[in-house]
């Protein structure tokens, strides 16, 4: 399942995001990269249907995003926010269960099939030990994984993530990265994620979309466009990309 952006314009206050002809395809992890305020989150939120663009010509496998009902969109696209501040302290299981909302009408509660889906997600991610704990007891790394689990319970082919590794320690950072790669490879998901730290990009993404001041600067496979000149002009800061033990590293 792929997302094709024909024309997208989002405006708020004096910021404008303008994207034309962009394709996010299946089985790969696409990273949105750019300086703060470039429009990464805005693009994600527009694709998730959370904000109303002024021009919104976006197609998911030929379906026009703007014409989908909320629950229809939820079955195709899920959105993983950066943090979750719950007012109520749900159990992890009940929290993941909420991913099933799009399949249920306003007066119904989850049924057996929904519970089975959640159990499947929990065992796929190895979260059995967390399932009965309360969300507010979790570390921020665990909470990030649980947010992704909810998106998996939503069972959409496209998963949008807003800086999923920010504030995580090294181990949890790698856990999230490996999970996203696994989802793209084994589960045929279309993963689109904004990334704060460029050091992670070669390990995380197959494909890059560089955004600067609301415009696309460059797009392409990571192996081709993860280059010093482009990154320098993207961040307005001198840096070098070096190779060590077969991995690309940033020197600044």
């Amino acid at each position: 399942m792929q997302i094709r952006v024909e024309r997208l314009r989002v405006r708020y206050q004096d910021f404008e995001l303008s994207v034309d002809n962009l394709l996010f395809s299946t089985n790969r992890v696409t990273a949105l990269v750019g300086p703060n305020g470039a429009g990464k989150s805005t693009l994600l939120r527009a694709l998730a249907g959370l904000i109303k663009p002024i021009v919104n010509s976006v197609f998911i496998d030929g379906l026009e995003l703007a014409r989908l009902r909320g629950w229809e969109r939820a079955g195709l696209v899920s959105y993983v926010p950066q943090e979750h501040n719950a007012a109520l302290n749900f159990s992890v299981f009940d929290f993941i269960l909420m991913g099933r909302s799009g399949y249920l009408n306003i007066f119904s509660s989850p049924a057996r099939a929904d519970y089975q889906k959640v159990e499947e997600v929990i065992s796929y991610l190895g979260l059995e030990a967390l399932a009965r704990r309360k969300c507010q007891e979790l570390s921020s790394g665990e909470r990030r994984i649980v947010l992704i689990a909810r998106a998996l319970a939503q069972d959409s082919k496209i998963i949008l993530l807003d800086e999923p590794t920010t504030f995580l320690d090294l181990k949890h950072e790698m856990e999230v990265i490996n999970l996203l790669r696994r989802l793209a490879a084994d589960r045929a998901k279309t993963i689109i994620t904004s990334v704060h730290s460029i050091d992670l990009i070669p390990r995380l993404a197959d494909f890059l979309v560089m955004i600067k001041a609301g415009r696309i600067l460059a797009t392409g496979p990571t192996t081709e466009i993860f280059r010093a000149e482009l990154l320098e002009s993207l961040f307005d800061y001198p840096l070098r990309v070096v190779e060590a033990e077969g991995k690309q590293l940033i020197l600044r």
């Binding site: 998730a48 899920s78 009940d94 909420m98």
Partner: protein, 342 residues
């Protein structure tokens, strides 16, 4: 994991049964209490005779008259009022992601109180006061939400606007009292303090179906209310029509509250205390919180009314009692949640 899940399910089911049985038990016991003592056995016989529908000599006795026409409507109204305030409180707290919110804070109580009073004073006594009570209750909560919308500190904004809108409706109420006839004034005064003492079957005719219908819909939506307690962005990305569903919950909560206020007056703070206690008992999941709050709220309200009927030699308004207990509890909650105020 599945084992603990099913064990928890059984435990939850026990709590649910208790929440249904406790108010039923209290209903029967409360029918015995009062100036005229009626034995438990006699009460059961009267109820059975009434339900069977056959004319029995038992039903013509003074005790039967007191049990069926004075105590039964009063106790039923107390049960439904407790359930209504608690369920609407629990739903609104989830919806606003704020344990301090309740119908009293949101201006619904005084809005509905004004509406019902206006109906009694200005329109005919035969016109059901529930209609104006609901309209004005809805108007009050809409005012609070529109005025406080977009404020940076939403919690403080909602609380402050709620106080101001309540004050507005209190002023309108005072104006009504000023123009009301002395006769109307007396009953208005007592009704406003909150009391079940004047409940009659004809009062219940309108309120009971409204409360039961509102409760049924809110209970059907209990899982949905879980999802609505997430941030707007999260709920929307999960596929909810957030704004429409929020408005529906607010309308239902206002409906059941104002249906009670229209016949029993302003009884505050029950909807604050009960859901809080229930969450401590069963956790955050509204599929349990809502029905258990209904049962516990109904029970507490009947107990409060029983206390008043047996301890005081005169009719002490139950609304004063709940405020005297509820306000210190509110202050305690505010102190505990100080972190969210900064």
């Amino acid at each position: 994991m599945l084992m603990t899940g099913s064990q928890r399910k059984i435990e939850n089911r026990r709590i649910l049964y208790a929440a249904i049985l406790l108010p039923l038990f209290l209903l029967i016991v409360s029918l015995c209490l009062g100036t005229l003592k009626v034995s438990l056995r006699e009460v059961l016989e009267i109820l059975l005779a009434r339900i069977s529908g056959e004319p029995a000599e038992l039903l013509t006795t003074p005790s039967a008259n007191i049990v069926l026409n004075i105590r039964l409507p009063r106790v039923l109204l107390a049960l439904l009022a407790g359930a209504a305030f608690s369920v609407s409180g629990a739903s609104l707290q989830s919806l606003f992601r704020n344990p301090l919110v309740n119908e009293y804070i949101l201006g619904v109580s005084f809005g509905a109180g004004f509406g019902a009073a206006a109906s009694l004073v200005l329109l005919s006594r035969n016109f059901p006061p529930q209609i104006l009570a609901f309209t004005c209750g809805l108007l009050a909560v809409a005012l609070v939400l529109v005025i406080s919308e977009g404020a940076r500190n939403t919690l403080v904004a909602v609380l402050l606007t709620g106080i101001i809108v309540s004050a507005l409706f209190q002023a309108l109420l005072s104006a009504l009292e000023f123009i009301a006839s002395p006769y109307a004034l007396q009953s208005l005064f007592f009704w406003l303090l909150g009391s079940f003492s004047q409940a009659t079957w004809s009062d219940l005719l309108w309120s009971v179906p409204l409360i039961l219908a509102g409760l049924a819909f809110l209970l059907k939506m209990s899982w949905r209310i879980n999802v609505l307690s997430l941030s707007d962005d999260e709920a929307r990305s999960l596929g909810l029509a957030v704004k429409r569903e929020r408005i529906l919950v607010i309308c239902l909560a206002t409906l059941i509250t104002s249906a009670v206020v229209a016949v029993a007056g302003i009884i505050g703070w029950v909807g604050l205390i009960v859901p809080h206690a229930v969450r401590g008992l069963v956790g955050a999941d509204n599929r349990l919180v809502l029905p258990v709050s209904a049962g516990l709220g109904a029970s507490l309200m009947v107990l409060a009314d029983d206390l008043i009927r047996t301890l005081f030699p005169f009719e002490f308004p139950v609304g004063i009692l709940t405020s005297l207990v509820g306000i210190p509890f509110f202050l305690y909650l505010i102190r505990r949640s100080r972190a969210t105020w900064s």
